[in-house]
Symmetry: C2
């Protein structure tokens, strides 16, 4: 038994994209090749097996389009279970572990939250993410301060890059939180 059904960022990305638009494997590959989602492999050896796993787990279903032509395609969309699994996954609490070791997964989850989870969940997601990122940032800064003599210039600079990136992420979370509140509150708020 797989630990959970969304076994990788790729599976999460696919399920999320299929929730937005029904797509074929080829369509997904094109998204991964041509958009900002280049972190994901567009190789058939990654995409098609991932689709089969999701289908086997009952999270997506594929229907053959253009059945009688010579170039049919299987277009996938999430099942009810799939949509539920995605929502449950998006709602998982944000941990320090996520911030330190799974930043990409965290951002991916956030990217798909629009429309799938309520605003409160999104807000508290960002709040926790900001807090945990700031906490880890302080750890890193302390470590950087504790380092000095004997440490080569380039090593120290590489560490500084890490600090810069986490600081950027913390600020992004705070800024997005503010933007989100403005986006929701003013008059009635949009879905």
């Amino acid at each position: 038994m797989a630990r959970h059904e969304l076994d990788s960022n790729l599976s999460l990305a696919i399920l999320g994209l299929l929730t937005l638009n029904r797509m074929s494997g080829y369509d997904l590959r094109k998204v991964f090749r041509t958009t900002a989602m280049t972190a994901f492999s567009d190789s058939p050896g990654a995409v098609y097996p991932a689709l089969r796993r999701l289908e086997k787990d009952g999270l997506i279903g594929g229907a053959v389009e253009r059945k009688n032509t010579l170039r049919p395609r299987r277009v996938f969309r999430p099942t009810r279970r799939g949509r539920a699994a995605l929502v449950a996954f998006l709602k998982r609490p944000v941990t320090r572990e996520d911030v330190v070791h799974r930043t990409d997964g965290l951002l991916l989850r956030f990217a798909f939250m629009g429309g799938l989870v309520d605003a409160d969940t999104t807000v508290s997601f960002l709040e926790t993410m900001a807090k945990e990122t700031e906490g880890y940032l302080r750890e890193l800064e302390a470590q950087l301060a504790g380092t000095d003599a004997g440490f080569p210039f380039t090593g120290r600079a590489a560490l500084e890059h890490g600090v810069d990136v986490y600081r950027t992420t913390a600020r992004w979370a705070r800024r997005t939180l503010a933007g989100l509140k403005k986006h929701l509150s003013p008059r009635g708020g949009r879905k």
Copy 2:
């Protein structure tokens, strides 16, 4: 035949660390568990096989310490070939691909450059890295500008995070470049 001998960031990290200090597998695990190098697995199932691969490829050699005690340890250090392979790897040209898909590897290479490669190489590494990062940043910004209606708020925000991070990396490269030049030039310069 493996594509190249440094088959993963973990192998690179290990070879680099062993170039700084002779260490055992357990020592390496401790480094990965307790320092900022938490991106690397401290699990024995990752570290010991990686050490064996590096040894098999003749890049490192292990000597048994405390032979006659009941708790001996194998302490590793790079061979001449290993040191040469590391330097060659560090000197590989920086590509757009590296910037887009292997930022971590790039930073890791930079971290180990101190003392192993000459200042010119380090400087041009940073220059290329800055240029390619800025180039990709412009691509991303164009993509972000081209997106708007229909795109959910959270999706757009996630994209903005990516832009923020690349901008941070570009600035880091420029700042570090300036710092490096100051670090080298003023009077005689240090090794």
